[in-house]
């Protein structure tokens, strides 16, 4: 069958099982948009290409399927860069198709020409500039394979316009294999290393399972739970793995890191064995690297061999897929006698529960005449929503409170920008998640700063009937930066005040086709959330007016050792400076 390049792009996407794409047309990609009218693929027309990228990412997070974005050349491709790098840092499977100027025009500074493959080289797992129309099926097939296997990530396919014009025809074929001689990710762990790791686990006195986003990517939440329960070893869940182990499980110590639970932070710090599963010793987790977990031996399981030993020496490095390795580990530990073969860890358990009792997450009561406590809003929101609600977040204080005060009991219910920390991530990610999971309730928790970056995608949501809900924790500041200025810059608040009068979020929401609410007092919080939860035909935005002075605690100051974690002021000893040790 003879088809042209544009038809081939869509046929190749259909062939990969793509049902939904996010994008915006323009000159170079126009020919691909023409046959889209006949295609079974649902196209969601965004208001900004960055939105398309984050939607693809939210879609991928929520569904486990690769997210797909299609945009034109030049400025559209550069608008996509943030979303690509975001997906790269958080290992999100994504395929992005960009238009490019015609082959003969490449290198001439043609209208809307950008060196897209050059610009995105370090923001993608791999990228392609297609140079022959008959390569389209193979390249797209390979792109999906790369995006979804090994360590997942974004792959970009740049297609010059002359290859998708109606007269660029070729004989369609279905690729049978892959043309990737240099790519063969290893998924099975080395059995000897797994056996050694299992022995170390059995012997450890103060072990902690350090579980990261790799658990979710490898769909290994059940295996993680089995491992933790059979060994009775406590688990910390990083920002990327919230939901990968249930929050209400007694072995869950919560989130570690800069704004982690005291117990999670200190458990890692005092451990004699860290069992890192799909985690990468990010600096936001380790604090000062040379003072991190000084007594711990390390077992490190990761699909990406380059992560092993990159930041922290691993006594037992195991490259491979977390699900398969944990499964093998469980068998090995059973052979070694399971829970019975382990030393007495009562002292460790008592230390942990002592910390939990002494330093739970806390926030103050509402102060009359003051605005809302943001933590209270998150707690009430979590209580009012079904347990399988998908929560997306922007970047800042609200993100940390969302992670801390929501109870995540199911995998794939938490979607945020961890590695890149991209403000404005939440709304488009929520739209993508809801597009992929229309039957689930999807909330975005956003800051006022973040909202002003990407809220135009609520127009997309309204027009495309994707009823997401947004809770703005509106403190009228770039809150997280304000917090750093308060604590580390002598309260010199340089350029972080947004003001509380402009914009009017309720009116703005309404103008975008959403329902808008504004909440100032604690009594209105729950009733307004309930109202929002009953609306299913449109997006909803609630402007929660929150107290600007509220800071996120615990906090490990940047560059400090995790042992110097600052707890909430109310938990500090009168005679100490705020540090707990």
């Amino acid at each position: 069958m003879q088809i042209n390049g544009a038809q081939a792009v869509l046929k190749a996407l259909e062939h990969e099982g793509v049902e939904t794409v996010f994008g915006m047309p323009g000159g170079a990609i126009l020919p691909v948009y023409d046959p889209l009218i006949e295609s079974s693929i649902r196209h969601i027309l965004v208001r900004h290409e960055q939105g398309a990228g984050h939607m693809a990412s939210g879609y991928a997070h929520a569904t486990g399927k690769p997210g797909v974005a299609i945009v034109t050349s030049g400025p559209a491709a550069t608008n996509m860069v943030t979303a690509l790098l975001d997906a790269m840092m958080d290992s999100i499977p994504m395929v992005c198709i960009t238009g490019q100027v015609a082959l003969p025009a490449i290198g001439t500074d043609a209208f809307q020409e950008a060196d897209t493959t050059g610009i995105t080289m370090s923001a993608t797992k791999h990228n392609y500039l297609v140079t022959k129309v008959e390569d389209i099926p193979q390249v797209i097939h390979d792109a999906f394979h790369l995006a979804t296997t090994g360590r997942p990530g974004p792959v970009l396919v740049d297609i010059p316009k002359d290859l998708v014009l109606p007269d660029a025809v070729f004989e369609w074929y279905e690729p049978t294999g892959h043309d990737l001689p240099g790519y063969n990710p290893k998924t099975e762990g080395d059995p000897a290393s797994i056996a050694e790791a299992s022995k170390m686990i059995m012997a450890a006195k103060r072990p902690v399972i350090y579980s990261g986003g790799g658990i979710l990517r490898s769909r290994a939440a059940d295996e993680l739970r089995t491992l933790a329960e059979m060994t009775d070893i406590p688990v910390v869940t990083t920002l990327m793995n919230r939901g990968g182990f249930p929050d209400d499980h007694e072995l869950n110590l919560g989130m570690p890191g800069m704004h982690g639970n005291y117990t999670a932070v200190m458990a890692m710090q005092e451990a004699d064995l860290l069992i890192a599963l799909g985690a990468r010793f990010d600096d936001r987790v380790t604090g000062a690297r040379d003072k991190f977990a000084p007594d711990a031996k390390v077992i490190h399981v990761d699909i990406d061999p380059a992560e092993l030993g990159k930041v922290r020496f691993a006594h037992v490095p195991i490259a491979g897929d977390a699900k398969s390795i944990i499964t093998e580990m469980i068998k090995e530990i059973e052979k070694l006698g399971g829970a019975d073969g382990q030393p007495d860890r009562d002292a460790w358990r008592q230390t942990l529960s002592g910390w939990q009792e002494k330093y739970p997450l806390v926030y103050g009561d509402h102060e009359p005449g003051k605005l809302l406590k943001p933590q209270f809003v998150i707690e009430k929101l979590a209580e009012a929503c079904p347990p399988d609600t998908i929560l997306c977040s922007g970047v800042g204080q609200h993100q940390m409170w969302a992670s801390q005060y929501w109870t995540f009991n199911h995998p794939y219910t938490w979607i945020n920008s961890g590695g890149l920390g991209t403000m404005g991530y939440s709304i488009p990610a929520a739209v993508g998640a809801k597009a992929g999971m229309p039957d689930r309730m999807v909330w975005a928790v956003d800051g006022d700063g973040c909202f002003q970056m990407t809220s135009q995608e609520l127009i997309t949501a309204a027009v495309e009937h994707i009823p997401v809900k947004v809770a703005i924790l509106n403190n009228s500041w770039l809150g997280m930066v304000r917090q750093w200025q308060e604590l580390f810059y002598d309260e010199r608040f340089s350029e972080t005040h947004f003001g509380s009068e402009i914009p009017n979020y309720k009116m703005w929401a309404e103008a975008m086709g959403c329902v808008g609410f504004r909440v100032d007092s604690p009594e209105e919080v729950v009733p307004t959330i309930q109202k929002a939860n009953e609306i299913n035909d449109r997006p909803v935005v609630i402007d929660f007016r929150t107290q600007a002075e509220e800071n996120v605690y615990p906090m490990v100051p940047a560059g400090a050792s995790n042992s110097e974690v600052l707890v909430d002021p109310s938990q500090r000893d009168a005679d100490s400076s705020g540090e707990t040790s």
Binding site: M121, T131, A306
Partner: protein, 171 residues
Amino acid sequence: MSHIPEFHTIVVRVENKAGVLARIAGLFSRRGFNIESLAVAPTDDDRFSRITIVVDVASTSIDQVVKQLDKLINVLEIRELDPETSVERELMMTTLSAPTPEARREIIDLVQIFDAQVLNVGFDQLMVSLVGSQRRLDDFEALLSRFGIIEIQRTGKIALSELAKVEPTES
């Protein structure tokens, strides 16, 4: 603190595709790896190229260099060559000032001693070349420097593993 370089040679087999060199160069710059020299050319199979990279690993781990390179989709194989068990060669071409018959004679003497070659002769200059180990090229360059080096170009080294000297015994 003065930086004392420590060089390792790695040989990388890559797909012979557009942009591969840019991917490698980009990786080195963004990860802060230092390239001392780099030589690249197609192999007998024109689908692949072979790149010899000399890296300074004084401030980065060679393990990371190799693993990060391995993540590049177009990279097929990476080998680290041990200088003890590999044969290395580099090519140098240089134009020297030789305005007097004495200078010419002395240069030609050195060329003969080093088994180098005179490539081109000008009325007051000589162009010579030498193939050899890096060390030998360094010595030659040092000895020539007093004549006045007008231009010099070195290729960066290429290397292959040393061959076995005895037939392996069946075990």
